[in-house]
């Protein structure tokens, strides 16, 4: 499965986000309707480390803006 599709599946199944409101460029954190929080970000970091061997610990929040930016960081660092 494509990287972005796998990230979306993880965010929906584990973090409880409805698939029909989540596009690859949808804002994930802050005032976005998705409204993920700091614990959710740790789950994403753990998932990315476990699945792709890419450690996003301490990475700037601009890389967590959306599925697009997370995928781009993984591609650039794996």
């Amino acid at each position: 499965m494509e990287l972005k599709a796998k990230l979306k599946e993880f965010i929906c199944s584990t973090l409880g986000v409805e698939a029909d409101v989540l596009e690859y460029d949808t804002a994930l954190f802050g005032d976005s309707p998705i409204g993920l929080d700091s614990v959710d970000s740790l789950e994403i970091i753990s998932y990315v480390d476990g699945e792709y061997g890419v450690d996003m610990t301490g990475v700037g929040k601009e890389h967590f803006q959306s599925i697009d930016t997370i995928a781009a960081y993984i591609e650039a660092n794996k």
Partner: protein, 146 residues
């Protein structure tokens, strides 16, 4: 692992010690532990005076303490392993004094210092509770920053 060996690994003490014995342990993977429920435990004074039932949050705490025994290095002096998330817990049957809880925990994910476990709690061979827990390590000093 008996109670003395458990005490070397975790910081909790009575009346907040929720694992009495560990019967199986695969470091960083899984464990099975026992919690013997006694009417002498202080929470039964109020939960409930006429009907002692072990609070669900303490069943979760029992699972959490067993998980902390699975995580290698969770006894580091400057670090504290904290519960981040409790997910999908179900309490299928009340736990009462006299029950011997057989608690099984199995790690499901462990990347980037975040550990997730599935937990199942049985008594007399029947599942009484089950759910998932997530932990991470934080600096002990950061807990008290305000």
């Amino acid at each position: 692992m008996n109670i003395n060996e458990i005490n070397e690994k975790i910081k909790q003490r009575p009346p907040f010690q929720m694992i009495d014995r560990v019967t199986e342990l695969v470091p960083n993977e899984s464990a099975v532990g026992l919690k013997c429920v006694s009417v002498n435990e202080p929470h039964f004074l109020g939960h409930f005076p006429e009907s002692p039932i072990m609070p669900g949050v303490l069943i979760i705490e029992s699972c959490a303490q067993l998980c902390s025994l699975v995580i290698e290095g969770s006894n580091e002096p400057d670090k504290l392993y904290v519960l981040l998330k409790v997910d999908g817990f179900k309490f299928l049957k009340p736990v009462i004094p006299g029950d011997r809880l057989e608690i099984s925990v199995k790690k499901t994910r462990g990347g980037a210092g975040v550990f997730s476990f599935d937990a199942e709690v049985k008594a007399d061979g029947r599942v009484h509770a089950k759910g998932s827990l997530m932990f991470t390590a934080i600096d002990r000093s950061s807990v008290y920053e305000r």
